[in-house]
Structure formats: C-alpha cells, structure tokens
Amino acid sequence: MRVSAIKQRPSVRIGGFLGKATIRALTGLLLLCVVFPIAWMIACSLKTPAELINQPVFHLPSGFYFRNYSNAWVKGKMNVFYKNSVITTFVSLIFTVGFSAMIGFALTKLRWRFSGLFKLLFSFGIVVPVQMVLIPLFIMYNQLKLVNSLWGLIITYTGFSLSLAIYLYSGYMQAIPNEIMEAAVIDGCSVYSLFTRILLPLSKNATVTVLVVSFFSKWNDLIFSQTFISSTSLKTIQTGLLYFTNEFGSTEWGPVFAASTMAILPTIVVYSCLNKLVIEGMTAGAIKN
C-alpha cells in the first residue's frame, strides 16, 4: 500500500452528510492553521525593528528588510552553524546510503545462514530511544576524543539512520528479480560489480527515498548535537539557533525570525521538490505493505 499509488477517489462522499460548504470551510481552516504560522514567521523576518515594536505583529511588512538576515548570518554566526550542518549532514548521508545499500544487498540477495537474524537485529534500531544510548555514547566519545568533533556527529547520525535505511533498501531490493542477476553473472559479473552495476542502479528510487528521509533526521537533530558539541564554532543549525536566541534573546525578533527561516528553508526546498517520496519514506515504517 503506497500513498502515491492511490489514484481514484473513494466513491462515497461524506459531503452528503456535512454539506459541501462545511467541508470547504473545514479544509480552509485546516490549511490556514498549517500555513499561517509559517507565513507569519517569514513576514516578520522581513520587518524593521521599528515595525516590530510599533505595529501589531500580524501586520504585513512594509518592505523587505534583509538586514535581519545579514545580521543573523554574520553577527549571529548562522554562517558557521550552516556550514557545520551542511558538512555533517552531507558526509553522514554518503555513509548512510553506502552502508545501508550494501547491507540491504547482503540481507536480500546474498545467501547465508544468519541473514534473518541480522535483519531482525538491524530493525531493532528503529525502536531504540535516543535516551537509551545517549549516556554511554557520551562516555565513549569522551574517551575517544569524539566530543566536540563533527566526526562524532557524523558517526552517530549514520548509525542512527541505518535501521530505517536498511529497511527501505531491503524492501526495494527484495522485489528485484533474481533473473536479472543471473543474466549479469553469465555475462561475467562478479558479486561486487553485481552490486555496483546492477542492484544499486536499479534501486535508484530507494536511494532517493533514503537520502530524503535521513536528510530530515540529520538536519533536524537537536539532542546529539547538544550533547556532543559544546564549542560554539562547531554547533549545528539546531543548537546554533538555540545559542543564537539566547544571545539575541527575546528582544530582537527580526534576526530570530530570520535565523529560524534560514533553518527551515532547506527542509522546505527539499520537501517541495520531493514531497511524494518524503511522505512515502517517512510513513514507510508505519504503513505495512
């Protein structure tokens, strides 16, 4: 069952019960509740300090005051936080995709006795609460000098994304018929080129889904970054945003809104381009095939 596979409209309408106008009003209200706060934030990020103080907050901005953004970017060090987030997210995405594709291949196509057991072991990671691993991880990282290091974050993000990524890859690779592999083997493919030349290209959709879903979990992480990073120059977007708000505080709304908008921006861009895959990937664990 896939959300995107659903084309036809169920034939029964509750419209008969509630009336079309009510339904339209409800839908409008729903959309307003979702969109309005976000739009309000963006609008406020463009207001001058005087506007924010003198006018009610729901007024539209009179112009585009981009000083908030440049303040947040340079003075608020959002440029540093952005860079750190981009590096950790990007590197751990590469590891996540590489490792989970390989394991997905090993679990579904290679033939060995304990593959079922390992599949179970990896899926165990989906249910482990972060709270359970945080303390030992911090102690381990402390001894291995991985505290205050982006590598510590990269390893953690990779490990924590693996379970869902492996689940997604396995489901996808399982469906690739063995006959394709047989043909390749007859043509002289080794087991390694079978993976790189056949399975991986055929699993392109799974790769995009894994990339997208783990992008959000890495970009939006707070608790790991908060625990393992204390140096300001290594903070990521989320911890940086908190630090930033504490510095600028409740008085300067403009830069806070600008910084929040900048933190949200990449997620909105990715979501606008790939929303179908995002929804499918994120609900994959909850919707059973």
């Binding site: 069952m1 169920p10 706060p37 090993a106 609460p129 709270q131 359970m132 929040s260």
Partner: protein, 293 residues
Amino acid sequence: MDRMLRDKKAIVVFLLPGLLVFAFVVLVPVVWSSVYSFYEGVVGIGLRFNGVRNYAQLFHDSQFTRSMLITLQYTAIVSGLQLVLGLLMSFLFAYGVKHKVTVRTICFLPVVLPVVAVGQLFGKIYAIAPMHGLINSLLDVLGMGKYVTAWIGTTETALGALCVQDVWMTAGFYAIIYYAGIVDIPKELVEAARIDGATGWHVGTRIVLPLLRPVIGTALIYSLSGSIKVYASAYALTGGGPARATYMLSMYMYDTAFKFNKYGYGSTIGVFIMLECLLFVALTNFVVNKRRV
C-alpha cells in the same frame, strides 16, 4: 551463481562497515546503558555496583514522579489529539476535498520542519513581552484583552501551549497513515453499505472506523512511544519551565546525567523510558488485537 552469492568474503565485505557503525552507536550503548543502570558514582572516578537500588530510588524520587506525571499528561493529550485530529483529517482527505494531493502535501509539511525553529516560532506566537505575540495581539484586536496571557510563562497554560505546538507539528503524519488505511478499504464494502441505505455518518463510524483498527493500532504505537520520549520540542519551546511545569522525564534524565554527572541513575531513567515505551506497545497490541468488533 549460487556459489557466488554464498561467497563468505563478499558477505563480510558488504556487511561489516555498516555493522561496525551500528554496533558502535546503537548496540553497544544499549547494553552498556542497561549495565550502568545498576551502578552509581562518576565515570572515571569510581563506579560502584549498586544492585537494584537505582531502580528502588526511582520510587522515592519526587522529581522523578513529578516528571513522569507531566510526561504522562503530555502523552495523553498529544496522542489523543493525534488520534482524533489525524482521523478527522484523513476523512477529509479521503471523502471531502478537491485538490486532495495539494491539501495532503501541505498538511504534511510541519512534520519535516526542524523542531528548534518551530519552537522559536511558537515562542513568538505565545509571547507577551517585549511585544504581544500572534495570539495575544489578536486577542487585543478582538477586544478580548483580558484573556491576554503569558502562555508559556504561566504554569497553568505552558503544558497546553506545548501540546498545541507538537500536535501542529505531527498531526499531518498520522492523517497520512490513516488516509492510506482508508484507501485500502475495499470500495465494494462502502458501496454495499450505501446501497443498503447507510448515511455518510454510519459509513464512517460503523464501517470505515472498525476496518481501520489495525492501522490505528500501529499509529498509536508510534504516537505513544514518540510522546513518552518527548524532548526536543519541549526543550526548544519552554526549556522545561516555568517552574518545571513542562519538565519531561527525558529532560530529567539528561540533567541527571550531564549536569549532575550521575550517569548510573541517569541510565536507570533512560532504561525506564524504554520500558515505558515497550509497555505502551504491548498494551496497544493487546487492546487492538483482543477486543473484537
């Protein structure tokens, strides 16, 4: 080909890198955490085996009890609303609206937003000083100035304000799950009921809802275990305040371990959170699978 796919070396090559990272970040810490929960003292200075005393202490620790009750209250409100609103929205998606894809896509959007940014946003929505936030200034305009409140600065309203934020962020996720469940219901069933004269209301409550039972079970497991573990959204909005009115169990664990360096007791709370999640999963499974329609 069979021999090639049984190649031991290849299996190791494909499995090992990911397995190492996974073991390092997930498996070892889980085991370690459970072991720690039986110790007391500070790592590096000296750990003492403490038996089950950490677990016994949980029941005499008033802050633990308080945080647990707050977390449970939060869970009841948030998971309840996720269920009700998620279902209502999914019905709207399935039977009501035009432009379904667009509506669905927009409703899912908050799910992907970074929680700290959302926390900042809602902090300003609830704000009272230095200027009135969105809610308070709307109250001003509507002539309801007497209802102006420091929504997240007052112990009575802070938890509710937090719940609103978190439901705003997550309702779309559950709506999509229920929607997928609704679409999976055979059309013939609904049509047959219509022909027999069932109204829209009856189709919804007597046919669709009961058939959604397994989907609701799965979603509840997600929702309950997610609420029990709540940390980031509360931390970003209220930081646990005011006067610890939103001080969740996970925050207490965090502070116990990293502020007061009581790793052993912190691990005990961590293990407790995990057990609580498992308990909720078991309970949900029991209720959903046992009670017949």
